[in-house]
């Protein structure tokens, strides 16, 4: 038994093990030193966590779009970041008009709901359009073909929106009702963060219930299992795929408004970095897995906000936040070393892989 185990491990495993162990060691040492130095109060640590959760919720919402499409089509929809951008960018004009008319001040709740509606509708429109024009004709093509098309679609959309709305940064109006913060003991949380975290949680819960408990959800899971067999069972595969895109795009549109309310700036390139981060989150959680994307988003947000200071401050690395992407991707590598298919990822069967 023991002999068999020893025979199975090879040089690569050992090398990867050493890399993993040393990274973990570095993280543990760094964290302990930082905590021992005690430069930060409990309140500040809680702040880091809140920032991470709020940012992570936005990542998670976008990540769901990647994961849903991957689950069904086994392809990465790289145009998803532009679906996200299109909603927030288009809703800017409504937001600006409502701010000038004083509507945001008098009815902030309705105004924000209108923004959500406009953003989600635009994103859905763009998402479905991309599916119809760029992906459906290539459904039976080799897998790399739709991937390249996705990148092309992404550039096409970026520069279409640049042409439509210009290349300047547009400032979202400040919503007076969302200013200020609540404090419970050491926990301090701004109203915007509450809105972001709550709406993301609600949307994700809604999506989970929809996929688990409705007929369409069941059909989606069936198509994700096996398209051909699902078709034989009488499921309209094309219709289900369109619905998947609608769901993913709607979530991206909602994420766009949450992003715009938080950062108050929109631009035609705004989707690129959140898109990359959300894709990372989807991989981190296990691509194709819905709770995995949520978890991956939250983890990534936390790594980015808590990681640099916790791991690096104690090691006396100057300006640790310059390295936040390094931290985030190191954590991704670590997770993938120990769980190659992501935190909640299933082991892919031959057919899916």
């Amino acid at each position: 038994m023991r002999q068999r185990f020893l025979n199975r491990i090879n040089f690569t495993d050992i090398a990867l093990g050493i890399i993993g162990a040393s990274l973990v060691g570095l993280i543990v040492v760094g964290s302990f030193k930082t905590l021992a130095e005690g430069n930060y109060t409990t309140r500040q640590w809680l702040d880091f966590v809140v920032f991470g959760v709020a940012q992570g919720s936005i990542y998670a919402l976008i990540a769901l779009g990647y994961t849903l499409v991957y689950g069904i089509l086994r392809m990465i929809n790289f145009a998803h970041s532009e679906v996200f951008m299109s909603g927030a960018f288009t809703a800017y004009f409504a937001a600006d008009a409502m701010a000038k008319a004083g509507f945001i001040r008098s009815n902030p709740f309705i105004a924000i709901l209108i923004l959500f509606a406009i953003s989600m509708a635009t994103s859905v429109f763009i998402g479905v359009l991309v599916e119809r024009i760029a992906y459906r004709p290539l459904r039976r093509a080799p897998r790399l073909v739709p991937l390249i098309t996705a990148i092309g679609a992404s550039f096409f959309l970026q520069y279409t929106f640049k042409g439509l709305y210009g290349d300047q940064f547009k400032a979202y109006p400040e919503v007076a009702a969302l200013k200020g913060s609540w404090t419970w003991g050491d926990l301090n949380i701004t109203r915007i963060q509450v809105v972001v975290i709550l709406s993301a949680a609600l949307l994700m819960l809604g999506l989970y219930l929809y996929v688990q408990y409705t007929k369409t959800g069941k059909a989606m899971r069936a198509v994700s299992e096996d398209k051909d067999v699902a078709a034989l069972m009488g499921i309209n595969v094309d219709a289900i795929i369109v619905r998947t895109f609608v769901l993913g795009a709607a979530l991206a549109g909602a994420a766009g408004i949450l992003y715009a309310l938080t950062f108050r700036q929109v631009n035609f390139l705004m989707g690129f970095i959140p898109g990359i981060k959300a894709f990372t989150a989807a991989v981190l959680g296990g691509i194709g897995n819905i709770p995995g994307a949520m978890l991956g988003g939250l983890f990534l947000g936390l790594f980015e906000s808590v990681g640099p200071i916790l791991f690096l401050d104690g090691l006396n690395v100057p300006a640790p936040y310059q390295l936040k992407d390094v931290i985030a991707f190191t954590m991704l590598v670590l997770v993938l070393l120990f769980r190659p298919s992501g935190i909640l990822g299933e082991r892919l069967s031959e057919k899916k892989a």
């Binding site: 702040d47 880091f48 940012q55 300047q168 400040e174 700036q265 100057p318 300006a319």
Partner: protein, 436 residues
């Protein structure tokens, strides 16, 4: 068989295309390269006036009658820093319009390349510009990172480049590898800007602790370092020197670490949009409510206050300050030409740069009997290095042997008001609150 035909026809088509192109390329006399001994251009049967002999060490530009004198620009005219770059281009355009669009009887050609405010963009734009041997001088660049990449190419090509808005000290430091012959600037050096900011914060505002943030760009990195050095030298303490990445959007974590050191002022001389986000997120971080903000000329644009929002009210900024009758006249011309005021502070610097080019070209150019203008490149450089007592909008300019032409008179500290955030007052057109 069918395939063979297709291939054959493609080949035939290709050879026809080649044949069509070939004679044209051999026939065209190709605009004369700069290093040749000034061959008399293909002007209609000239009676050979005493032929101009180019004795310049790095060659001459020859401009046949009717051909334009080519002044190019390398500026960041798209994306987040477009306000800076486009204003520079426009400022130069006014100088050309003032000249009537003509120099030494030749029309002026003024065009350029977008350089995107990064090293890659600077290199690409520089390569494109120097490939054109008719270019005499370049108005460039917008950002210091671009100059770092473009200047080696420009220096090799023997051209001169003058920037209205590069402020990085290395570019005119003769001991630094980023310094190249033929580089000039009408913008102030950050050794000066950083000092003004630190002195204002320490002496005028009475702050004794400060934190700085840069974004890894040469501009921000060196500016915050100068600020930190001077601030410490004056007796203040620097609680943190943080860095962020270009493209980041969430600065609340980094601001929280800064809050842990409880500084009285945060100095973040970065660019849009990161600077705007940082200014607006300051208020969302506990412990920073009372802390002042200070930025530099990279954020000094008309659009900054509205995107930064109410949190930025009261923020200090160092930026060029130019006043006087000549400036008022310039602004009027700018307004008529472009339908709005300059969107950033460096338009007069660009205007002065172009005028210095004109003065130097007029000084060194040799006009042939047939109207051909010869511009020796080394002589042009020397003339620019020797500029003294040049009366420009930004003051009395004199270039030193390293290429710094600004005297530093034209710098001041501004403060953001609620009216600017609401969009009813223009930051760039406002009056500063302090001048060194």
């Amino acid at each position: 068989m069918k395939r063979l035909y297709t291939m054959l026809s493609v080949l035939v088509l290709a050879s026809m295309l080649l044949a069509a192109c070939a004679p044209a390329t051999t026939e065209a006399p190709a605009t004369e390269p700069p290093h040749t001994e000034a061959p008399p251009t293909e002007a209609p049967a000239t009676e050979a006036p005493p032929a101009f002999e180019c004795t310049d060490a790095i060659g001459c530009v020859d401009i046949a009658p009717g051909e334009p004198i080519h002044i190019a620009w390398i500026q960041s005219v798209s994306g987040a820093t477009a306000a800076l770059g486009q204003t520079n281009v426009n400022g130069g355009q006014i100088a050309i319009d003032d000249k009537g669009g003509e120099l030494l009887g030749h029309p002026i050609q003024y065009d350029g390349e977008d350089s995107l405010c990064n090293a890659e963009g600077g290199q690409a734009a520089g390569t494109k510009i120097v490939a054109d041997p008719t270019v005499v001088a370049i108005l460039g660049t917008t950002c210091s990172s671009e100059a770092r990449a473009a200047m080696p190419l420009v220096a090799d090509a023997g051209m001169v480049m003058m920037s209205p808005s590069n402020t990085n000290p290395d570019l005119t430091n003769p001991d630094h590898p980023d310094h190249h012959d033929g580089y000039f600037r009408t913008a102030h050096n950050d050794l000066f800007q950083g000092r003004v900011a630190a002195e204002y914060a320490f002496n005028e505002l009475g702050f004794t602790s400060a934190a700085t943030v840069h974004d890894g760009s040469p501009y921000a990195q060196s500016l915050q370092q100068v600020f930190a050095d001077v601030f410490t030298e004056l007796g203040g303490t620097i609680t943190a020197q943080e860095a962020v990445n270009v493209g980041d959007t969430d600065f609340k974590p980094v601001l929280t670490t800064i809050a842990a050191g409880s500084p009285e002022i945060i100095y973040f001389p970065i660019f849009e949009p990161e600077g705007n986000l940082m200014a607006s997120q300051k208020c969302e971080v506990s412990g920073l409510e009372e802390v002042s903000l200070m930025g530099a000329d990279g954020l000094f644009t008309s659009g900054f206050p509205t995107t930064a929002g109410s949190c930025a009210v009261g923020m200090y900024m160092s930026s060029p300050y130019v006043a006087g009758d000549a400036m008022a006249g310039f602004l009027e011309k700018y307004n008529t030409a472009f339908g709005e005021g300059p969107a950033s502070g460096f338009a007069p610097h660009a205007y002065d740069a172009i005028n210095m080019f004109f003065a130097a070209i007029e000084q060194v150019a040799v006009v042939g009997a047939d109207g051909t203008v010869h511009i020796p490149r080394q002589a042009l450089r020397d003339a620019l290095y020797g500029t003294t007592g040049f009366t420009g909008l930004t003051g009395n300019l004199a270039c030193d042997e390293n290429g710094d032409c600004a005297t530093g008179e034209a710098l001041a500290v501004y403060q953001l008001s609620q009216a600017m955030v609401d969009g009813s007052e223009d930051l760039v057109a406002s009056t500063p609150i302090w001048q060194p």
